[in-house]
């Protein structure tokens, strides 16, 4: 059986780091804060790996399927009988897998930051925020109660806000962190309403009970949930759809993705953390957590999930082909890959072979965490070296940054889906699931996978090949020491080998192990497409030439639109500034200034006028007071004697 104490240590150790470094870091632990944070996270990673081992190989499987365990459940706030906010731990295949992913990637980021952030003024603050971020994400994946997930969900939002705005003296960073917070917060409003609707329908906030009640046809809760309707759509569908809005906001799905590219203003290791293990996968995790409800009760919402994911995937891939800031390319590639995970869930069904999409989505989440963290950390090394984010400042770096070069190449191959690297396996499963269930999404996914290979190798050739490296005379500080290379190497091993894990054995929609078949003839098309993408990129970018410029001119209008991210930001600005501000903001401001303030001022002036009148009574003349006193006594005595006989 799972041990509540050891498992609760996994999130609590990073939290202890946050408290310790947050309170004492700046004064006493200036130098050692990085080590402290890293050691605490190392401990929590070890416990997480141990937990995963125990769960998958010792006690998790009962009667042929992986079971859910709730080793800890404390009632925190009880609203009424059965409806309570609990703090607890839910152990099932996806939460255990997420524990491993989150702690491992976070540990890599911690180690990498020891080198990357060295000498920063606010070094201890940085590590305490990292601890908070990791803690919130771990709490989120362990949550056993939908409201607990919401609490940690918001904590993730806050800590991403703090980390994106880490360089708070830069106005762009401040704008970016505000944008990330407000956009995700806006989506979370949908999440909150969704929670309220779902809990109202099911009469509980507890995940297991909620899922059980809302998926069993015939329970009274199920009948209520289906019979209540608004605008012709049943209550449970509304609830699930609104919860997905929250998930889409956090996972940067179209059209709520606008915060993600701007979030690149944070330090690069933070981007790795946000993009690989925490924050953006939270939305996918949420959909996976509520998957039985979505799949069995509200298939329409699942269809929306699928299409939103597919559109985001291809949309982001197109933008990524045109961006020139390497971190932005990676940001859009994240959005595209998260889109993959989303539509994999969207095309999946519950249980058995049809649940392949679910397994594939989680598998892709796992492999993506490896190669995306690797890509970001590698990009961090490159940026560290050339002091610029623009690809035009890079080129020919393969000789000066050999380890970064090799690991980056592995990550690019993995994300492009070239066998035998990790991304190939997970992408194959996703494509297979899409092919079996929704052919439209399958075609979109196929195009996206070609585009992915193209833009990743565009990046790769631009950074490491293109033009010969020219030294600008500044001192050569190499690739950064051991602490920056170790995470790259470890993650590269993960990105190369993670695909061989028989993932379906461990994670499936209903807990029963899924045999993963390998279809050779099926994978020919995607692999050929991926290789085409790779070679096109090679042909265009390996040496400096005018082909890219020509292509850009040929696709003039489309290229400009993609370069400007299809003007989504401008649309948002238009809607908020022109429409919302004028229609809602200004009238609200007028109402506030005149009506609300008027009432407040009225109360104030009335009191003042009244006190102006009665203040003469306090004259300071003792004898006058005595007369009032005497008069009062006489009046009372008269009343007492004659009125209350």
């Amino acid at each position: 059986m799972p041990n509540a104490l050891t498992i609760s240590l996994i999130p609590l150790l990073p939290f202890a780091g946050f408290i310790l470094l947050g309170l004492f870091g700046r004064k006493y632990l200036k130098k050692s804060s990085g080590i402290i944070g890293t050691v605490l996270l190392l401990a929590s990673t070890i416990i997480a790996l141990y937990t995963a081992y125990e769960y998958f190989f010792v006690y998790g499987k009962v009667g042929g399927g992986f079971q859910k365990f709730i080793p800890l459940q404390l009632t925190w706030l009880e609203f009424s009988q059965g409806v309570s906010i609990d703090m607890g731990i839910l152990i099932d295949p996806i939460s255990v897998m997420m524990l491993v992913v989150v702690t491992f990637v976070s540990l890599m980021v911690h180690i990498y930051s020891l080198g990357y952030m060295k000498g920063e003024e606010r070094f201890p603050v940085y590590y305490s925020f990292l601890g908070l971020f990791t803690f919130s994400m771990l709490g989120l994946v362990l949550a056993c109660n939908i409201f607990q997930i919401y609490i940690f969900w918001e904590l993730v939002g806050v800590s991403s806000f703090l980390l994106i705005g880490y360089y708070y003296e830069k106005p762009s960073a401040v704008a970016a962190c505000k944008k990330a917070f407000i956009v995700t917060r806006f989506a979370d409003l949908g999440f909150l309403i969704g929670i309220l609707i779902l809990s109202f329908c099911s009469g509980t906030l507890d995940f297991t009970t909620l899922i059980q009640r809302l998926t069993t046809v015939g329970t009274s809760e199920f009948k209520t949930a289906v019979s209540y309707s608004f605008m012709g759509v049943s209550a449970v569908t509304w609830g699930a759809a609104l919860v997905f809005v929250g998930g889409a906001g956090k996972s940067a799905m179209f059209p709520l993705h606008i915060w993600l590219p701007d979030a690149m203003e944070g330090p690069t290791p933070v981007s790795a953390l946000i993009h690989a293990a925490t924050m953006v996968v939270a939305g996918v995790f949420l959909v996976a957590r509520l998957f039985p409800v979505l799949a069995l009760t509200t298939p329409h919402v699942l269809e929306i999930v699928g299409w939103v994911g597919a559109i985001s995937a291809v949309f982001a891939a197109l933008i990524a082909c045109t961006q020139t800031d390497i971190k932005r390319v990676l940001a859009y590639s994240t959005m595209s890959q998260i889109g993959y995970m989303m539509f994999a869930l969207g095309v999946s069904k519950y249980g058995g072979e049809n649940g392949l999409g679910y397994t594939a989505s989680m598998f892709h989440l796992f492999t993506h965490a490896m190669f995306k963290a690797l890509l970001f950390l590698g990009a961090g090394g490159v940026i560290h070296f050339v002091h610029s984010n623009e690809i035009k400042d890079m080129g020919g770096l393969r000789k000066v940054l050999p380890i970064t070069h090799i690991t980056f190449l592995i990550a690019c191959l993995a994300i492009s889906g070239v066998p035998p690297f990790a991304g190939f396996f997970s992408k194959e499963e996703i494509l297979l699931a899409a092919y079996q269930n929704n052919i439209g999404i399958y075609w979109i996914a196929l195009i996206t996978s070609g585009l992915t290979a193209f833009y990743m190798f565009r990046l790769y050739f631009n950074i490491f090949w293109s033009k010969p490296y020219e030294s600008h005379g500044e001192h050569h500080h190499g690739e950064g020491g051991f602490v920056m290379m170790l995470p790259l190497v470890l993650l590269a091993i993960g990105a190369a080998a993670a695909g061989f894990i028989p993932f379906g054995e461990y994670v499936s929609s209903d807990g029963i192990p899924l045999e993963s078949h390998f279809h050779l003839q099926f994978s020919i098309v995607p692999v050929v497409l991926a290789l085409t993408g790779v070679f096109t990129a090679m042909w265009m970018y390996k040496t400096q030439n005018d082909k890219p410029a020509k292509l850009a001119t040929a696709l003039n209008g489309f290229y400009t639109a993609a370069y400007h991210k299809f003007y989504i930001d401008e649309m948002y600005i238009f809607v908020t500034k022109k429409i919302l501000f004028n229609l809602i903001g200004r009238p609200a401001a007028w109402f506030d200034r005149n009506v609300v303030d008027g009432l407040v001022n009225l109360a104030g002036s009335t009191t003042q006028a009244a006190s102006e009148n009665i203040k003469k009574f306090q004259s300071g003349k003792v004898q006058q007071y005595a007369i009032y006193f005497l008069a009062g006594i006489i009046v009372l005595a008269t009343l007492f004697i004659y009125a209350w006989k």
């Binding site: 306090q618 004898q623 005595a626 005497l630």
Partner: protein
């Protein structure tokens, strides 16, 4: 000679009380005002004694009240005089009309 009854004493007590009140309200000198308060207190004492003697002669309650009031009056007089002395030190007068600034 007629034995003085309850009403006689009550009359004297009431007279004392109002003399005291009059003194308290009209005098400007703090010490004189204090004397007015003493008169009021003593009129109450007189009432207690009279009721004790004429209405419940078997009990001692009124007597004890009086003893208490005398003790407390002594303490109160000490406090009041201390206040008056301090006032004199700060204002160089014991005229109550000069102390109106104390309300601030």
């Amino acid at each position: 000679m007629m034995e003085p009854g309850l009403y006689h004493i009550l009359f004297i007590s009431a007279a004392l009380f109002f003399i005291g009140v009059y003194g308290f309200l009209t005098r400007r000198n703090l010490v004189t005002m204090l004397m007015g308060i003493e008169l009021i207190l003593n009129s109450v004492n007189l009432n207690f004694i009279a009721f004790n003697k004429y209405v419940w002669p078997a009990k001692m309650t009124g007597l004890f009240f009086v003893l208490f009031i005398i003790a407390i009056a002594a303490a109160e007089a000490a406090v009041a005089i201390a206040i008056i002395i301090n006032l004199y030190r700060s204002h160089h007068s014991i005229d109550v009309t000069n102390d109106e600034d104390l309300k601030y």
